[in-house]
Symmetry: C4
Subunit: 408 residues, 4 copies
C-alpha cells in the first residue's frame, strides 16, 4: 500500500470541497449550497433499450451476493426473525434491530399487538414504557441463532452505544453482518470525560464480520468511514416518512445530493485502494421509482422501511413507526397506519396487484433498467438525470379535486 495515502485523499478532498457549488447567497457573508431530493429528479432514457431478461440488478455486500438491491430496515415494525429469514431466501436482506422489542422481550408478539391496538394519544407514553425495558444479551444471541437455524442471513443493527456495550456478545455470535447505525454516525465523537467513545476502526477489526456504518450524508464523513474500514455506507439523514429529524432538529439532507456526494467518496476510495464499498440509500424511499432514482444517483442498494411494513407478515401488523419514537426525552417519528397490501414476495418480486409502484419493486427496478438500456447496477449509476420537480401546481390540484369529485 502506498504510504502516501494520507496525503492524496486530503488533497482530493480539498479539491472536491473547492469544486462544490457553494454559490447561493443566503445572506451577507453566508454562502450556501443547493441540495436536491429524489422528488426533484427524473431519469432520462438513452439511445438503447434492453430486454427485461438481460438486466442484472444484483449487488455485493461483504462477501455476500444479493439478487435484490433492497434491504429491509432495522425497525421493529419491519423486521423480526421470520421476515429476516424470508427476505434472505428471496435474495434480499433484512436487518434486525439489536435494541428493539425482539431483544428486550422473550415474546415480542404481544408487545407488538399492544402497539398496533393502542389509541393515538396513548401511543407515545406506551412506546416510552415498552422501550424502557433493558436489552438482554441472551435474547440477542437467541435471535441470531433462530435466524441462522432457519437458513437466513443474520444481520443486526445497533447504535454506537449498543456496539460498545454488546461488542463481546457480537464477537462470539454467529452474526453475518453488523450495521452500526445512528441518526448521524461520525468517526470522531466527543464524549464526556471518562466515558468510552466508539472507535469504528477498532470495531471493524475486532468484529470479524463486515461492518456497515452510517448514516452519513457528506463526502468528508463517507471518506473517514471508508478509511476506518467499513464494508458498506448507509446514506441518508432526515428524509424518511416515519422520521421527523428535519422538523424537530432542523437536520436533513435531500437524498439525491447525499447519495451523489457519498458515491463520489466511494469512487475515490476505489481508485486509491482498489476496494469497492457499496453505498446504501436509506430514508424517504417509498416506490420503485424512488429506488431507481437512488441507484441512478450512485447507490448500490437501498434500505426501506414502510414499503416492507405493508407486507402481510410484517411484525408491525399494518403499522409502522420510527425508531426515535420511544425516546424518553425527545420522541420523534410517528406511528402510521400503512395497512397490509400483500405478501413479502409480492411486494419484492410481484406479480403486482397494485398500480402505484409499491408492489413488485424488483420488477420495477428491472423494467426501469430495461427501459433505460442499462445492464447492471454499475451502468444504472451512470444514467442521465434531470432536475424535474413534480411540484404541485394549481392546475394539478384542480385535476385532483375533480378526480375526487370535489371542485365545480
Amino acid at each position: 500500500m502506498n504510504k502516501n495515502w494520507l496525503i492524496t485523499p486530503l488533497v482530493v478532498n480539498l479539491i472536491r470541497i473547492i469544486k462544490k457549488s457553494v454559490n447561493i447567497e443566503l445572506g451577507l457573508n453566508r454562502k450556501v449550497r443547493r441540495a436536491y431530493g429524489i422528488d426533484e429528479i427524473a431519469l432520462v432514457p438513452g439511445n438503447r433499450t434492453l430486454d427485461y431478461d438481460l438486466t442484472d440488478p444484483s449487488w455485493r455486500i461483504g462477501n455476500l451476493k444479493r439478487e435484490v438491491p433492497i434491504i429491509a430496515s432495522a425497525m421493529d415494525s419491519v423486521v423480526d426473525v421470520k421476515t429476516a429469514v424470508e427476505l434472505s431466501k428471496l435474495g434480499s436482506l433484512g436487518v434486525l434491530n439489536m435494541e428493539g422489542i425482539q431483544t428486550r422481550y422473550e415474546y415480542p408478539e404481544e408487545i407488538l399487538s399492544q402497539i398496533s391496538s393502542v389509541g393515538k394519544n396513548e401511543f407515545v407514553p406506551l412506546m416510552q414504557k415498552i422501550y424502557s425495558k433493558p436489552v438482554k444479551e441472551d435474547l440477542i444471541l437467541k435471535r441470531i441463532n433462530e435466524i441462522k437455524e432457519m437458513g437466513g442471513i443474520a444481520a443486526l443493527s445497533g447504535t454506537p452505544q449498543a456496539a460498545i456495550k454488546f461488542k463481546e456478545t457480537l464477537v462470539h455470535s454467529k452474526i453475518d453482518l453488523f450495521f452500526l447505525q445512528g441518526t448521524v454516525v461520525s468517526t470522531e465523537h466527543l464524549g464526556m470525560e471518562g466515558k468510552e467513545s466508539l472507535n469504528i476502526r477498532n470495531l471493524c477489526q475486532s468484529l470479524k464480520v463486515p461492518l456497515i456504518a452510517g448514516n452519513c450524508v457528506t463526502y468528508e464523513v463517507a471518506q473517514l468511514l471508508l478509511r476506518a474500514g467499513v464494508s458498506g455506507l448507509m446514506v441518508g439523514i432526515g428524509p424518511g416518512a416515519a422520521c421527523t429529524s428535519r422538523g424537530v432538529l432542523g437536520i436533513g439532507i435531500p437524498q439525491a445530493t447525499a447519495i451523489a456526494d457519498c458515491s463520489a467518496a466511494r469512487d475515490d476510495y476505489l481508485q486509491e485502494t482498489g476496494n469497492y464499498i457499496p453505498v446504501i440509500g436509506d430514508g424517504g424511499i417509498v416506490t420503485g421509482g424512488d429506488i431507481c432514482k437512488c441507484l441512478a444517483c450512485g447507490a448500490d442498494a437501498v434500505m426501506i422501511g414502510s414499503p416492507i411494513a405493508k407486507s402481510s407478515t410484517a411484525p408491525g401488523n399494518g403499522y409502522h413507526w420510527g425508531m426515535a419514537t420511544p425516546s424518553p426525552i425527545l420522541p420523534r417519528g410517528t406511528r402510521i397506519e400503512v395497512g397490509s397490501t400483500g405478501s413479502l414476495e409480492r411486494i419484492l418480486k410481484g406479480p403486482a396487484l397494485l398500480d402505484d409502484g409499491t408492489h413488485n419493486l424488483l420488477g420495477a427496478i428491472r423494467t426501469s433498467m430495461s427501459t433505460l438500456g442499462v445492464k447492471n447496477i454499475k451502468e444504472m449509476q451512470n444514467v442521465e438525470i434531470v432536475i424535474a420537480p413534480s411540484l404541485l401546481t394549481e392546475g394539478k390540484v384542480y385535476q385532483k379535486a375533480q378526480q375526487l369529485g370535489m371542485g365545480k
Copy 2:
C-alpha cells in the same frame, strides 16, 4: 444526397450536447440539467393580434392534411372504430390500439362495460385477465376494414413486439398510418440471443405507409429515428395523467423540454435533408392551454387521451385508464372516472358548455393563435415563452379554501 451526411449530424450532435446546459450540481462529480414541464411555462403575446378567422391550425402527417392538430391516443378508453371514423371526419385523427380490447375480442362492448362497472379493488386483476386473451390477426384486419368502410382514416398503433409479430398482416392491410409506440422506443434494442429485434429502418421501408414512432424525449434518439425514416415523432415519456412511469420507474422528462429538444432534431434534419417530419407531443396534456404550450415548444400536433375519453361516445364509458395497467407483472397507470361531458364535436370544435378549457379545444388553439398574432402552426412554434410556474402558494390555498367555504 450528400455522402457525408453521417459525419455532419455527428458533429452537429456533439455541438448540441456541449451546448446543453448541464450545469447544475446534483452532487460532487455529478452535473445535471434542469428540464421544464408545460405547467412551468406561459406564452407571451407579441406586437400584433390577428382575426380568429385568419388563423390556420392545420398540419400534415405523411401525405395527409389534418385541420385539427390533435390526435386521439391509442387507448382502449379513447378510440374504437366509431370514434376513429368520427375523429377523421372532424378533421382530427384517432389511433386504434392494435393490442387492445378491439383486437382481442369480437364484441368489445361487453368487455368495456365490465371495466367501467367493476369495483376499485377488482380492477387490476380484471384488467390482467382481460388482456391475457391473445390478439387475433383477423380482428386487426376487421377493425381496419370497418374504419375504411365507414370513411375513416385507419391509423393503428403497436409496440415493437407487435410490429414484429403482425408485420405481414399490416403490410397486406388497408392501413393508412402506423404508430410504433412503446413507453420508450429506441433504434438500438439489445435482446436475448436468438430473439428477433425490431429494425425500424426496415419496418419503415416494408410497411409502405407512413410510420410514426416514439415515444422519445431526447435530441439524440429523435435524430436516430428520423434517420431511420420515420414520418412522425411521438414525444413524451412519463408526464401523463393516467400513467405512473415516473412513480414506478423513476423515468419521466418534463414535456416542454422534451418537445423543444426533439423539435431541434427535426429542424436539423430538415436542414440536412429537406424533409419536414412532424413532432407530436404526447402525455400530460389536458386543456387547450396545454396544447397551445406544446405547439409553442415546437410540436406540430398533440396526442391526447383523457380529454377525448370524456366524450359521450368514448369507448371508456366515462372512465379512462393507461395502457400499462394490464401488465401481468407490473401494472402501472390507474383507472380514473372522467365522466362524459359532451359530444366529440363539442370537445374538439365547440361550442363549449364548460369554462375550464376542456371543451372546444380547436377554438382554444385558434383563439390563442389570434391573441398571440400567429397565422399557422409554424409561427406558433416561435412565439415567446416565459418560465412562469403557477405554483401553489399559501395565499392561493387560502383563497381556494374560502371559495369552498372552508377556512376562517
Copy 3:
C-alpha cells in the same frame, strides 16, 4: 419635439431587449426568460419610517386627480351606475362595461338576480343567452348621463370591436374617460380583408377624452401604445382569479414582471417626451398586500374586480364572474361566490372588520407606505423588492391541518 424620436426609442428598445435575461434553456436552441408573479415577491423596509398621515397615495389619470390608487374593473358583477358614482365620491374610480348587462338591458337588476340565483350547471348557457342580446346605443348614453347627473366620473370600457362600432356615440357623449380593453390589445391588428381594423392613434385623437388602453404585458407593446397617444396603460394578461386565460389559451404573464417591463416603457417615454402616463396593474389582485406589491413594481394604480364585488352594493349580489364567460364559442372564467363582506367605503377606506387584507385597502396602502418610509406613489415605485416565494411546504400544510382540526 425632437424629430429623431423614432430613432432613439428603437435604439433604446433594442438595448433593452438585449438586456433582458433570456438566459434559461428550455431545450436545445430555445432560450427563455423567467417571469415573476406578485406571490413570489415581498417588499423590504428601508432605513426610514414615516407617520401614516404623511403618506400621499394620490395619482393622476388624464386631468383627473384621484385620492385612491384603485379602479373598479369594468365587470358586470363589480360596477353599475350607482357604484360608479359611489366610487367617484370615495376618491376612487369605477369603469362601466360598455358591452355588458347595463347596456343590453333597460332594467339590469332582474338579469343580475337571475345570474346569482341560477344553479351551477345552468350558469354557462344562461350567460351565453343573456349576452346574446345586442348592446343598445341609447342605453350607453343613458348610463353615461345617469352617472354624470349623480355627480360621478363617467368612465366606460369597450373592446376594439365595440370602439369601432360605437365610436360616434362616444364622441358625442359626456364620457370622461374611455378604457379600450381586450384580453390583449395591440397597435397592429391583422383583420380579414374588407373588415375595419382599429387605429388606436386615430381613436385617441377623435375621442377628445383620455383613452386608457390594454391589456398589455411587454415593453414593446407598451411603447407602441404610448406612441399612439394613450393616457394610461392597463397591464396584465392571464393572472386574474375569475379568468382562465392561462388554462384555456396557455397565455399569461406573471404580473410583477409585466408591470416592471411596462413601467420601464413608461419611464423611457417620459424621458423622451416629458409626458408621464400612468401604468395600471390589472388582474389577480386580491389583498392590500397585492396592491402594494404592484405599486412597488412600478404601477401608479391598480384595477381590481373581486375585492369590490364583495361590497354590499355590488351589482353581482355576492357573486363574481369573468367577462369572457358569456363567449358563445369559448366561455372562459367562472362564477365565484364571493359573498358580501361590507360596504364599499369599508372595503376601500375602512375601518376594517376583517383581518385578511380585504377591508380598508387604502389604509393598507398607507400603512405599508408608512412602514416602508415612502411619501408617495413615486417613491413607492422604488422600494426594495426581494424574491420570496411563499410556497406551500409540507410543514405549512401540517400547521394548517392542525388549525382546521385535522391531522393528529
Copy 4:
C-alpha cells in the same frame, strides 16, 4: 475608541451592499435579490458528533445569562405575570406587553376569558373594543413589581409611541430589560410637524437598563440600531403564523436571509467596537427545528409566541392572536385555536409527550447541537446550511392522502 468609526462602517456598508447578490431580473431595469425562508434550508452534520451533556445552549442578553435561548413573545396570549416568572425560573425569559390587556385592566383574567369564548364573527370588534381602553401608568408599575416580587425578570415591550409616553414611568421602575418593538423599527422616523419622534440613542442612554430593539431585517438598519446603542436586535418582519403583514401590507422578509444579514451587521459591529450584541430571531418559528435553523443562520436566541401559547398556563387559554389584531382601522393577524398541550416546563424542557417537535424545545436544540457536533451557540452559528426546500410534491400529497384514508 477610534474617532474614524463613522467612516469605516460606511465603507464596510458600501462594500456589503455591492456584494449583495442583487442579480435577478424582475423586469427590465429592475434587479432584485432572492431571499430564503427557514422552510427552505436544512442543517448538515459535520465530521464530529458530541455527547448531549457537552452541549451548552446558554446565551447572554445585557448582563443576564440565560440557559435557554428562547424568549416568549410580548403577546397577550403568551405572557402574563405568572408565566413571566415561571419562564425566568426555567432559564428562559418572558416579555410582558406594556400596551396589552395586563396594563389596561386591573383584572385581566375576565377579559382574556371573553376573548377565548367569543364567536368568530364577533372577535375583531371585541378586540377593537377591549384595546380601546387606555393603558394605565400604575398598572405598568404594578405588573413590574409583581414580577420582581415573585422572583422573575421584569422584561417589558413597548412600541416607539409607548416608549415616548411612558419613558419616565419606566425610568423610575424596577424593570430589567426593555424591548422597543414595532412591526418595523427605524432610527430615522419622519413624523408630523410638532409631533415628538423617538430618538433611540437617547432612550438607550436614559433608560439605564438594556434596550433591545426591532424588528429589523436588513444589514443597514441593524447597523444603525447597533450604533444607537441597543443591547439586542429583534430580527423578523412578516413571517409569523399569527401575523398577516405580508398579505395585508406586502411586506415580509424570509427569515433565514434576514437573520443572516443582521448577524453580519452584528459581526462587523463586534469587530469595530468589541461589543457583542445578540441577534434574536422573531416570527414564524414553530418547532425545535425552526429554532435550530435560526441559530445556524446566526441568531443567538429566538422569540416565539404560538409554541408558548400552547402551554397549559398560558394567558390565552388555548388561543393565540397577533398584536396588530385590535387595530381600530386595519386589524391584522387572526385568532388561532392552538390548544393546551402541556405544561410550560414540558414545552421548554420536556420530557416530550408529542413527537411533532413542539415539546422539549431545549432538548431539541441540544440534540441537534450534539448531532451536528457543536458545543455552543457560537459554533452553532457556523454549521453548514444547504438550500433544501421541502416543497409539497404530487407524490407527497398522494402519500398524505393515503395516510388519511383518502385516495385509492
